[in-house]
């Protein structure tokens, strides 16, 4: 079926895959990227962004993966920790930022200090809400920013219209929303443990620990120090609009199952090879707690405004 996303080639956003936010076994991570490199994804973000205790893959392992991504003709970006508290975390970050081979995604202000003067990406957890911040960070070396997830089309339109030349806008288009970070590890807390003796129990929750309201409504997912939405944010029905606005990249955030299928669904829709209704029907079958998109239209993030193909 032909798509309703009719974008000229030069309007078509590239497709990116965000960093894995969960703690999966090493072999699962390697298998995951082997599968991803079979998909039409353009940019792959790699690295641990949530917890410095998750060390099944070391910086060297992520660099090896980045080399593989680059060799496949795609762009690799190294993503860094979202909350830096300790000296040890700063040292690792400094080492990552000293490596010149790959573009780096800054997720804590500390990374801006190390990356100043060279090209970098600003991730969703650094607050870029207006033109003055955009110009300031661009002057500092920022080549791309990921729109903070609580911002929608109105602010995206204003920012894109007035952005400095050569700065790209990426939009978080699919995945559980990153909503908050804390000093506390909520996975450990809910196991009756503290962060310092957590036994890395987050590895038991490949898509986070689900919390439901007392009315049995899935509400949030706890992922170590991060709190996510239980529902999956999805902008597939808005891909045409995103392209026409001038969004340069749309991001899919990994989940433990079906990510390659999700990437292919987005790619086909962007190319005009898949009708939105059909894409939506596919995506609905691949997420555990439904789809939401409210942030894009300035509503509550948990709202779904586009109910195409909802049963």
């Amino acid at each position: 079926m032909p798509s309703d996303v009719s974008l000229a080639t030069d309007q078509r956003p590239r497709l990116s895959l965000g960093p894995i936010l969960y703690y999966w076994p090493r072999q699962q991570v390697l298998d995951f990227y082997a599968e991803i490199l079979e998909t039409p994804v353009d940019v792959v973000y790699l690295g641990e962004t949530i917890c410095s205790k998750r060390r099944l893959l070391r910086p060297e392992d992520w660099w090896d993966l980045a080399e593989r991504v680059t060799a496949s003709g795609r762009e690799a970006v190294i993503s860094t920790l979202a909350l830096i508290e300790s000296e040890g975390e700063l040292k690792v970050l400094e080492r990552q930022c000293a490596d010149q081979r790959f573009l780096i995604e800054a997720n804590d202000l500390a990374a801006l200090d190390f990356l100043e003067g060279r090209p970098f990406v600003v991730g969703t957890s650094i607050n870029l809400y207006n033109q003055r911040t955009l110009s300031f960070l661009a002057a500092s070396g920022m080549k791309r920013w990921v729109l903070p997830v609580e911002l929608g089309r109105e602010t995206a339109t204003d920012l894109i219209r007035t952005r400095p030349a050569g700065v790209e806008c990426e939009v978080f288009a699919f995945g559980r929303l990153p909503l908050a970070y804390s000093a506390r590890c909520f996975t450990a807390f809910n196991n009756g443990q503290g962060k310092d003796n957590c036994e890395l129990r987050c590895s038991e929750h490949p898509d986070g620990l689900m919390i439901k309201t007392q009315e049995n409504q899935p509400f949030l997912a706890l992922n170590g120090i991060q709190t996510q939405s239980a529902a999956t944010h999805n902008l597939l029905p808005f891909l045409g609009e995103l392209g026409r606005l001038g969004v340069d990249l749309v991001r899919v955030s990994p989940q433990s199952q079906h990510t390659a299928t999700i990437v292919r669904t987005f790619a086909a829709s962007l190319k005009g090879e898949l009708a939105t209704a059909e894409g939506q029907a596919t995506l609905r079958g691949l997420v555990p707690n439904g789809l939401v998109d409210g942030y894009w239209s300035g509503a509550a993030g948990m709202v779904e405004t586009n109910t195409t193909a909802r049963v």
Partner: protein, 331 residues
Amino acid sequence: MELVCPAGNLPSLKAAVDNGADAVYLGFRDDTNARHFAGLNFGDKQIEEGLRYARDRKVRVFVAVNTFAQPKGWSRWSTAVDRAADLGVDALILADMGVLDYAAERHPELKLHLSVQGSATNPAAIRFMKRHFNIRRVVVPRVLSIAQVAHVIKESEVPVEIFGFGSLCVMVEGRCLLSSYATGQSPNTYGACSPASHVEWRDTAAGQETRLGGVLIERRGRDEPAGYPTICKGRYEVGGDIRYAIEQPTSLNTLDLLPEILAAGVAAIKLEGRQRSTRYVSEVTRVWREAIDSCQRNPGAFRPKDDWMQTLARVSEGTQTTIGPYERTWH
């Protein structure tokens, strides 16, 4: 060590000044500050009177413009900065890099503090903010243990202010979207967490229910006290159990830690609560003034007095207080 106290309105400002604050902080009457509540904050006349009252008694006045401006609203934030500069306030508390950039360029004489909403939790982040905006103080988010606070102070040339008492944010300030996920409005975009217009309280057969944006965030028994209705302090089902999955309805009280706070070289201690009553401001300011003076005289012998702790417990939200993240076991 300076004591920085909340002023949600003129009577509270006077109460803070009269009870021993070294500085007070306040906001304008709009979404440019993180306590954007109906009936709170300062218009031009009140702020001029407040400034006079504080100055006459050698107390400094800080203005918080600590939310994040979006393009359509930018002029409210730039106007707020200009107003504060015209008023000659002692410092401006800012969070947004764009607003910091504007203030540093337009008003180089104005002292800038990085707000807790600015999310600087480590020496590299503070160095970056100092280099670009010449910040004179940083208020650090409630994520660091007291040992980590001491380390940040040792490694930074910028004096550090910490939150010592009041409502406890569980998430890194400036990076929490839980409220906007349920309501469309967050501290970053609107200046309030759980805006009152989105909160419903209902008495049901199953208990007293609190909803935010329609989501049931708490259901409690009749004799259980109700705290401020935030998502982070609600009760949910996790693996078959109903529990406080993120944090209990506690508030922060670090009085026990005062000798360690002093020894760490903390430049200022801030009390939360611009949205609280004038009586709250009087009592917490008085207790903290006495405690800081007593601790500075003889840190080795410092012990919080029972009546201080009782006073603070009486005015705390909920029934429990915690040292929170300053104690490593909280993490």
